[in-house]
Amino acid sequence: MKSGAPNEQSPVLSVRDLCTVFGTRAGDVHAVNSVNFELSAGEILGVVGESGSGKTVTMMSMLRLLPSPPANVKAGTVHFEGRDLLQATDKELRRIRGGRIGFIFQDPMTSLNPVFSVGFQLRESLRRHLGMSRKAASKRSVELLEMVGIPDAESRLSAFPHQFSGGMRQRVMIAIALACDPSVLIADEPTTALDVTIQAQILELIRDLRRDLGMAIIWITHDLGVIAGIANRVLVMYAGQIVEHARVEDLFANPSHPYTRALISTVPAVRGHRAKRLNSIEGQAPTLLGMPNSCPFESRCSSAFARCAQEAPHRMQVGSSHDAACFLVENASHVATN
C-alpha cells in the first residue's frame, strides 16, 4: 500500500469478507455476512438499509467495539493505515478509536455521559490521544466547540449535557469525534433522533467540516433523502449483506436490486406536487439464524424466480462502480451483451 503513489482513489479503509456472528440461545445470528467495501479519502459513503440490516454491527465490528461474547467477528480483514484492525493489539486499537477514526451515534441524549461536563468529555480525548496538558486541551476544546457552531463556547465548557438541546448535543458529539483530526468519521444515524430543521443544520455542518478538514465519512441512515443530499457513493444493506453498491446518482437513476427499488419507492415525495403515501416494504426480513443458502430477499421480492430460492447471488457488476447481488442483473447483462 505504501509503495504506490497515494492518489485520490487509494482507499483509507478497506473491508474484506467481514463476518460477525452473535451467539444466542436460539442459535448463531449471522448479523454481518461477507461484507466488502472500500472508503476513499475524503468521500462520503452512505449506508442505507432497514432496521436490523446490520449497519451498526458492521461498523462496530471493524473497530472491535462489540462485546464478545455474544459477538464474534469470525472472518475478514479491515485495512486501515497499513494494518489489519482485526489483528491489531488492544493498545493499537485504542489509539485508532477516537484518534484516527471518530464515531458519532444516533441518540445524542444518551451518548454523552450525563455526569461529566462537556469540557471534561472533550479534554479526555485530546489528552489521551494528543497528550495535551489540561490547559492546552481546554483551549482546543473551545476551538472545537466553536468549529461545530456552539455559541459562547468558552462558558459552555463547564456545562453538562442535559443543559444542551438535542441538536447542540449532537454538535458536541461531532466535536468529540473530530477532536483528534481523524481521517475517518463514522456517523451512525446522527440525525435520526433530531427534528427536521435541526437535521438539516447538522447535515450542513458535516458537509462544511468535510470540506474544511477533508476526512472521509461513513454516513449510516434509514433515510434515502439524506443519502441523496450528502453521499458520494452508497451501500445498500439487507440482512447483513451489501445488496447494492453505486454512486449516488446511479443508485437513484438505475436502482438494480429489487430491494433498492422498493426502498426508493417508500420515500415519500413530500417536495413533489402531491405527497405520496409512505409504503413500507411488504413482509419480514429473515431471522439471520443459520447461513443463508438462498437470496435473503427472495420471500419479499416481486421479481423472484426459481433460482433465487436455490442459491445466494453474489455481487455482480452493473456498470462502473455499480454492482448488485441479484440474478436479474446477471440476466440483464446477458441481454445487454447479446
Binding site: 467495539l65 477516537g98 489521551r128
Partner: protein, 335 residues
C-alpha cells in the same frame, strides 16, 4: 442547593417534634411500671412517693413539655457550661435515667465509643468490601466470581447475625481459641500488644456485621453497575479510545455511585441502633445493649432519649442522602 438544604433542615424540626410526641405517647401507653422491680418489701406508700419523685404524678402534657425542655434546653445548656465554664445551666434538671439516676446523655456518650468502634468499623469494612465485589460482579456478570458473590451475599443477608455470630464464636473462640468470645470494653489501648488485642477482639463482631452490610451494598453496587454498563455513553467512551479501566472506573462507576452513595448514607443510622443483636452476642456494651437493658428495666427516659436520637439520625441522614444525590448528579436541581 444551599437554600434547599436550609429549607429541608427547617422542615425537619416539626417532623422531629412530631416524632418525639409519638414516641412519648407510645412509651406512656406501654404497660409496665418503673417501680415494679423494686423489692416487694417496700410499702406501697413509699412506692407511690418514688413514682411521684420520678414525675409520674403529673398529667401527660406537662410531662411531655418537661421532657422537651430537659432535652432541648437543659442538656445543650449543660454542655455549654461544661465547655465554656460559665454557669449557664444553673440548677436546671437534666434528663435522668430511672435506673441509675444519672444523666441519660452521659451514659449514652459513655457507650457511644464501643458502638462506633465495633459497629461503625463493620460498616466501613462492609462498604469497602462491597464496592469492589459489586463492580467486579457486574463487569464479569455470570462469571464464577459473580456466582460466588451472589451466593455469599444471599447467605450474608438471609442468615441472621445471631447465628453467624454464635457460629464464629464456636469455631474461632471455643474450638480454635484464636479470638476472645467476649468483647472487653474496659480494655485500654496503650501499646502495641494491647492494640493487637483490641484488633483481635474486634475481628469477630466486626466481621459478622460487615458480612451483613456488605451483602446488601454489594448487591446494590452490582445492580447499579449493570444498569449503566450497557448505556450508550459507555459505547461512546470506548469509541473514544479510552482504556477499559477508565471506561469502567470513571464513566460507569461515577454514574453507578449515585444511588449507592444514597443507600450507604441511609444505612448510617442503622449503625447506631441496628447492631442490638450482635452487641448482645459478643457482649459489647454499646448503644444497642443499652437500649435493650433500658427497655427491660422500664427506664422510659433512657428509651425515649435513645429512640429519639435514632430518629434524629435517620432524619439527618435522609437529608444528607438527598443533598449528596444533588451533588453527585448534575441533572438534579433543587429549587
Amino acid at each position: 442547593m444551599f437554600d434547599y438544604t436550609i429549607r429541608r433542615t427547617l422542615l425537619a424540626i416539626p417532623t422531629l417534634l412530631f416524632i418525639s410526641l409519638i414516641l412519648f405517647l407510645l412509651l406512656d401507653l406501654a404497660p409496665g411500671d418503673p417501680t415494679a422491680q423494686l423489692p416487694l418489701t417496700i410499702p406501697p406508700e413509699v412506692k407511690e412517693k418514688i413514682r411521684e419523685s420520678l414525675g409520674l404524678g403529673q398529667p401527660l402534657v406537662i410531662r411531655y413539655l418537661l421532657w422537651l425542655q430537659q432535652f432541648f434546653v437543659n442538656e445543650p445548656l449543660h454542655y455549654l457550661t461544661e465547655i465554656t465554664g460559665w454557669d449557664l445551666s444553673g440548677d436546671r434538671q437534666r434528663v435522668l435515667s430511672w435506673q441509675s439516676r444519672s444523666p441519660v446523655v452521659d451514659i449514652i456518650l459513655q457507650r457511644l465509643p464501643q458502638t462506633l468502634w465495633v459497629v461503625g468499623m463493620s460498616y466501613v469494612v462492609g462498604v469497602l468490601i462491597a464496592l469492589p465485589i459489586g463492580i467486579i460482579s457486574a463487569y464479569r456478570q455470570y462469571s464464577w466470581f459473580d456466582q460466588i458473590g451472589t451466593f455469599v451475599s444471599m447467605i450474608g443477608f438471609s442468615v441472621p447475625t445471631f447465628f453467624t455470630g454464635v457460629l464464629l464464636i464456636v469455631v474461632f473462640s471455643v474450638e480454635l481459641g484464636w479470638f476472645p468470645s467476649i468483647y472487653d470494653t474496659t480494655h485500654v489501648v496503650d501499646d502495641w500488644s494491647s492494640f493487637l488485642f483490641q484488633v483481635k477482639q474486634m475481628i469477630m463482631p466486626t466481621m459478622v456485621l460487615a458480612l451483613y452490610n456488605a451483602a446488601q451494598i454489594s448487591r446494590f453496587m452490582r445492580a447499579s453497575m449493570l444498569d449503566n454498563l450497557n448505556q450508550d455513553f459507555v459505547r461512546t467512551a470506548r469509541s473514544k479510545g479510552l482504556r477499559e479501566s477508565t471506561v469502567v472506573l470513571v464513566h460507569v462507576l461515577r454514574n453507578s455511585m449515585i444511588p449507592v452513595v444514597t443507600v450507604i448514607a441511609l444505612g448510617v443510622p442503622t449503625v447506631f441502633g441496628g447492631a442490638i443483636i450482635t452487641e448482645q452476642v459478643f457482649k459489647v456494651n454499646g448503644l444497642g445493649q443499652l437500649l435493650i437493658t433500658a427497655i427491660q428495666a422500664n427506664d422510659i427516659p433512657m428509651v425515649q432519649s435513645l429512640t429519639f436520637i435514632f430518629a434524629i439520625l435517620i432524619v439527618a441522614f435522609n437529608l444528607i442522602a438527598d443533598v449528596l444525590y444533588g451533588v453527585l448528579d448534575p441533572r438534579i436541581r433543587y429549587d
